[in-house]
């Protein structure tokens, strides 16, 4: 018996019938897989492109960790692969190091955790969960992906230019980012970086407007706003944040492009360049203006990354505890509070820029306020687990891992948000530990949870669970081993973005620790290939899904056929009669949203 036969012995041929009810027109390879306007295909394009960028971004972190962990060891093969510019004599060069950290940050924040996460799951879940045949504008949706794709190509190209990619940190503060003479990476590499991210903003706006329009206008009959799954609420707030804040970043970039190329002085003043021994003519600009414009996006951006993960984790935890999410309205309210506050806290990234102290105090106050909706979310997740019946599917494990990371990383936000403590630990490894746990690892966990949970809906097959479990446990342990000790290096005052600490009396005591962290980074990075292989193998060879609702879930996406065609439902779109979290109600395991309220049923909303 072949492997396929073992796996699929009990599956009738009937399940293989693809439902193409809505799309009678002829579909070519190009219209189906490349310039597709089907939200499900576009979401897969976002996901796979995001995975490619995650590998590149992750690989870059491995390379710069080699330098941090083994500053005295030569790896001749590095020069063979990367060339002299990056790794002369087998050592990562300073310019190579700074290029690596900058591109690592840019790529993971924007391409992986924004496009890869929102792009994938907002596209996939919004129409399926609100009961729509597709996005409000499938064409704009397609453009959104292709703008992202081109942005990626340009970023990729910037890595190969002679003076190297931009290397002034992902936040790209001028004057360093404005003046090619201050850093080789700020030459052509920075122009490409700016063009790439400008196109990325376009992509993000096209997507975001679409998500908002779809959620507000295209919900199926009976799907009132308060019957929407928390995933959809989270995607809605995410899209609103993006639409309101990305244009501000864009304007900041435009001014930077002007300063770089057209002789304006928006950000430049009083500058003398030692390398060319010249004073620049610019006067009256403010370098701090850029930081305001950047962080006006930059902080909401953190929540653009967090909220989709929070929404998916809420959904996955509820399904797998077989209990309603605790405090649905409080969960929506806290999402709203976080989204609103995220616009009012940007200057907490700027406590030590010489900001007006009164302004600083307001931002400190508003920043600590975010801890309140965050703690509501955490306690509501914990209460959802309480007296549940927990199934540890791979998606559920990653959702629980998300909560753990969110707690660990979130609590240190209370340190940094308090301006007084921030003076000490600002721009040290403490902040690296903080945001990697709360935003980086937590959101990646949310993304893994989403992929494992909705893979059966995406491809009509399961991913291999054993590989998924191994992936989860090594990643969880690895993430803590990497980032937990960084709190300590931060509390030694060790600054971030240093190429080498050996000349510093205050920071050189961590050489051994840095070595161990680098080894864990390599192992954890390699473990991600277990996921990648599992993902691609399962697309074609995974165990087939035999029921339309494998997780016994209430939401609408599981009322579609196993392999839904363009248009999602072969017949009428189902009508909705109840909220999405009626699990365990009146002793019944689950009651899908499409089930009308029974006469005997206890109180409902």
């Amino acid at each position: 018996m072949s492997n396929e036969a073992v796996l699929h012995a009990n599956i009738g041929e009937a399940h293989d019938v693809h439902s193409n009810h809505q799309t009678h027109h002829h579909e070519t390879f190009i219209t189906k897989y490349v310039f597709s306007q089907d939200h499900k295909m576009i979401s897969k394009q976002f996901l796979i492109t995001g995975m490619v960028w995650a590998i590149i971004g992750g690989l870059f972190s491995v390379l710069f960790r080699l330098q941090l962990g083994f500053p005295d060891t030569s790896f001749p093969w590095l020069e063979d692969i990367l060339g002299k510019w990056w790794a002369e004599g087998g050592h990562i060069t300073p310019q190579g190091y700074y290029a690596l950290v900058t591109i690592h940050g840019t790529v993971l924040v924007f391409f992986v955790l924004t496009a890869g996460l929102s792009g994938t799951f907002a596209n996939f879940l919004i129409p399926l969960q609100v009961g729509a045949r597709d996005m409000a504008s499938p064409f704009m949706n397609m453009l959104s992906y292709w703008f992202f794709f081109i942005a990626g190509i340009i970023m990729l190209a910037s890595i190969f230019v002679e003076t190297g990619p931009f290397s002034g940190g992902w936040t790209a503060y001028p004057p360093l980012s404005a003046l090619g003479d201050t850093s080789p990476g700020s030459k052509i590499g920075m122009d490409l970086w700016l063009i790439s991210l400008a196109l990325f903003v376009v992509s993000s706006l096209l997507g975001g407007l679409n998500y908002i329009a779809t959620i507000l206008n295209m919900r199926t009959k009976g799907m009132s706003m308060t019957r929407m799954p928390l995933t959809v609420w989270a995607m809605l707030f995410t899209a609103i944040l993006g639409v309101l804040s990305f244009p501000v970043l864009f304007s900041g970039f435009i001014l930077l492009i002007f300063d770089r190329n057209f002789g304006t002085s928006f950000y430049l003043s009083d500058i003398f360049i030692a390398s060319t021994n010249t004073a620049l003519p610019n006067e009256g600009g403010s370098a701090i203006l850029y930081q305001h414009l950047f962080w006006f996006l930059g902080h909401p951006e953190v929540y653009i990354i967090m909220l989709p993960a929070m929404g998916m984790v809420s959904e996955i935890i509820s399904v797998n505890t077989r209990k309603p999410i605790f405090g649905y309205i409080a969960m929506v309210g806290s999402l709203f509070a976080i989204a609103t506050l995220s616009f009012l806290v940007w200057a907490h990234h700027m406590f030590v820029t010489g900001l007006n102290p009164f302004l600083g105090s307001i931002f400190a106050l508003l920043t600590l306020l975010i801890a309140i909706p965050s703690s509501i979310k955490v306690f509501n997740w914990l209460t959802t687990l309480w007296r549940g019946s927990i199934r540890f599917s791979p998606g559920m494990l990653f959702a629980l891992g998300f909560v753990s990371m969110f707690i660990s990383g979130g609590l240190t936000g209370i340190w940094m948000g308090n301006a007084t403590i921030d003076i000490h630990i600002h721009d040290t490894y403490f902040i690296i530990a903080h945001f990697h746990l709360v935003m980086g690892v937590a959101s990646i966990f949310g993304m893994f949870a989403g992929v494992y949970h909705w893979f059966p809906k995406m491809y009509g097959r399961y991913m291999n669970t054993t590989a998924a479990y191994i992936h989860f446990w090594i990643t969880l342990i690895g993430a803590y081993l990497i980032f937990w000790p960084m709190h300590y290096t931060g509390l030694a005052g060790m600054p971030r973005r240093y190429y080498d600490y050996s000349i510093w009396e205050s920071f050189k005591q961590f050489a051994e620790l840095n070595k161990s962290i680098s080894i864990v980074v390599i192992i954890t990075f390699l473990t991600q290939f277990l996921f990648i292989i599992n993902f691609f193998h399962s697309i074609w060879r995974g165990r087939k899904v035999t029921s339309t609702n494998p997780w016994k879930s209430n939401t609408l996406e599981w009322t579609t056929p196993i392999n839904p065609g363009h248009g999602n439902w072969p017949g009428e779109i189902p009508e909705v009669y109840r909220g999405p979290y009626d699990y365990g109600k009146d002793g019944i395991d689950f009651i899908p949203q499409t089930t009308p309220i029974g006469a005997e049923e206890s109180g409902h909303h």
Binding site: P94, Y98, A274, A287, K323, G327, A371, L385, I414, P485
Partner: protein
């Protein structure tokens, strides 16, 4: 060769894991999917509990091996730093308690409420009482923290005492330049367009310049300019007036627990009172090589990591002796214009460290 070996082993490990994964999938199908799912559910529930216990031990162990390498056990070297440490410790204990509590509940609930045969879940959709509790308790705790925080914040960012020693700090790629007032007790004017790295690294206006419309400022003639090491006085407040010549830098003072950006075109200030001389700190830290280091904490280019300054905290008498020994930058520049061969100010500080370390490695 080793790289190929490592690569081969890695690929082999992948193949093994992959085969095990596939095999376990076949076994589960043959054995009955529901049954094997329940088995792995138990294993994962147990692992959640095990992870929590091992994790908490790990937290303790990590603290044990790293605590003495941090600044946590050292007294802060400035008055402001002491207050920051106080607030830091209060915050640490509060957040650590919440950390232990919530992580414990998370993993304990995961283990305790794992799926079991015939067990019904408790339908519990919401409770206003509970939600009010965990809205208000954090709010009260945060209010306390922020009140403390802002009290200190306004103190630190408020005006420096009148008797403060004022030192101007200027960042540049990749080093620091310090300026002290001369005998007149005033900083002379400067203008960035007349900077000359060799003779006048700060652009002090000490002669007329008709083209730029500058008038000689006599107050600049006695200003003292030094590079690399800054001297300040124990128990005397010091006010740093911070600027940058090129890109954004940051004056990072880990031992004083302080930090302030150096922004071109926008001067910033920071003040504090040092509590221990460098010599005293050597004893406190039991490190004979101890120095107060200024680390640049804002990404400023490829030499960022080497942008080091030194602070020597000394007694007033030692400081006076040190300052008396310095001659004003103006004099040095005037001398050099008459005698070209005389080296002037050591303005090139650490910008060659970058190349140096690379050379060492080769």
């Amino acid at each position: 060769m080793t790289i190929l070996l490592v690569l081969a082993v890695t690929i082999l490990v992948f193949i093994v894991i992959f085969q095990i994964s596939k095999a376990s999938e076949y076994v589960s199908v043959l054995k009955g999917e529901e049954k094997s799912r329940k088995q792995t559910n138990k294993i994962n529930a147990f692992l959640m509990l095990a992870f929590m216990i091992v994790g908490f031990i790990g937290v303790w162990y990590c603290n044990k091996i790293l605590y003495h390498k941090t600044l946590l056990w050292q007294p802060a070297a400035s008055d402001h730093g002491e207050k920051i440490d106080t607030l830091l410790w209060i915050t640490l204990w509060i957040t650590f308690a919440v950390f232990i509590l919530t992580q414990f509940l998370l993993f304990w609930f995961s283990y305790k409420y794992q799926e079991k045969e015939g067990k019904k879940v408790f339908y519990f959709a919401h409770s206003n009482k509970l939600e009010i509790i965990w809205t208000s308790v954090p709010a009260v705790v945060l209010a306390v923290l922020i009140v403390f925080g802002l009290k200190y914040w306004f103190e630190f960012t408020g005006d420096a005492p009148k008797n403060a020693l004022e030192v101007e700090v200027t960042g540049k790629q990749f080093g620091w330049i310090y300026r002290y007032k001369g005998a007149d007790g005033v900083f002379g004017k400067k203008y960035f367009k007349i900077i000359d790295d060799a003779t006048n690294p700060l652009g002090l206006i000490w002669k007329d310049n008709a083209a730029l419309g500058l008038k000689d400022d006599a107050k600049s003639h006695d200003d003292i300019v030094v590079a690399q090491t800054m001297y300040i006085v124990k128990d005397r407040p010091v006010k740093l007036i911070i600027g940058s010549r090129d890109v954004v830098h940051d004056v990072g003072l880990p031992h004083f627990r302080l930090k302030m950006d150096a922004v071109p075109g926008t001067p910033t200030t920071m003040w504090f009172t040092p509590k221990y001389t460098t010599a005293e700190m050597k004893k406190i830290t039991k490190n004979p090589d101890f120095v107060y280091e200024i680390s640049c904490d804002q990404m400023c280019g490829n030499g960022h990591y080497s942008m080091k300054g030194i602070i020597e905290v000394v007694t007033q008498a030692e400081f006076d002796a040190w300052l008396a020994d310095k001659s004003p930058a103006y004099q040095a520049a005037v001398n050099s214009s008459t005698n070209e061969s005389a080296p002037v100010i050591a303005a090139t500080t650490t910008n060659n460290v970058n190349q140096k370390t690379i050379v060492q490695k080769q």
